[in-house]
Symmetry: C2
DNA sequence: TTGGGTGCAAACTATTTGCATTCGA
DNA sequence: TCGAATGCAAATAGTTTGCACCCAA
């Protein structure tokens, strides 16, 4: 786990002023590679005796995502996860169990992508493979 | 555009009882290949003088999606689109303009997908390419 | 000081639930 | 007649906005 000092450094390096609330959110989210919803983060903060408001959690996650510290993963209607693994990767999502599993982008070959319309540039390529248990 | 009779037939063929509200939603959504949000559909129904409740629109879209008449596309946090193009395809999404454009899945080659964990079966493979305008 | 940055209460929006009603057998 | 299906008001859950406060320059 990152010490408090390390988290502050991480935030500063990302151009984010390391305030108390942001460090608390970062401690929970960036501790290891994982997928957490805003709600889960909020719950954990409360449990840790670090009550940060809902709005601040959302705003902070949005900021972290904009600066590349976490990645938003859209999985279900109105169910966003924040993924602290920022290496290029894609996702398996088991619709029966809710399990979300990363796999490296390097492993997959995606070829013959059409040219983006209106000569826009590609910002991200997200592959989500939805699974269902057999039987 | 489908006549009313055709829409009723379409719903029956999908195993859906063709009630008034469902036919009204279907007329709007299935008229042509397009991406619509629940809100847009609701607005158009009101405009057409066919006021179906919000809850019924959501439930009906959920039913249509379950029966394969439309496909849910997750684009933004809390922004679901219902795509009446059910042929296999993927999406370009321009984050600057909000434009959502289909491209055929047949065009793209995706290789070396890892085996699904726990021997679950693949339900869908969704590729979303986010774009940003140059400059 | 002071102007952008920050945190949060409150407002807002999207979606789901629970139940009275209706439908088809 | 009766259980399942249906439609919707109300409740819930998720997210954003607007503003008072704070802090670095």
């Amino acid at each position: 786990m990152d010490s408090e000092g390390d988290v502050a450094k991480l935030l500063r390096e990302a151009g984010i002023r390391p305030t108390l609330q942001r460090m608390q959110v970062a401690e929970v989210v960036l501790r290891k590679d994982q997928h957490l919803s805003a709600e889960q983060i909020l719950t954990e903060l409360d449990y840790n005796g670090a009550p940060v408001s809902k709005a601040t959690v959302y705003n902070t996650l949005g900021l972290f995502a904009a600066r590349g510290l976490v990645r938003e993963v859209l999985i279900d209607a109105a169910r966003v996860f924040y993924d602290s693994n920022t290496r290029p990767h894609h996702h398996f999502y088991n619709t029966d169990t809710g399990a979300l599993v990363d796999f490296p982008a390097s492993q997959v070959v995606i070829e013959n992508l059409p040219a983006p319309p209106n000569s826009a540039r590609i910002e991200s390529v997200d592959l989500v493979i939805r699974l269902r248990n057999k039987g």
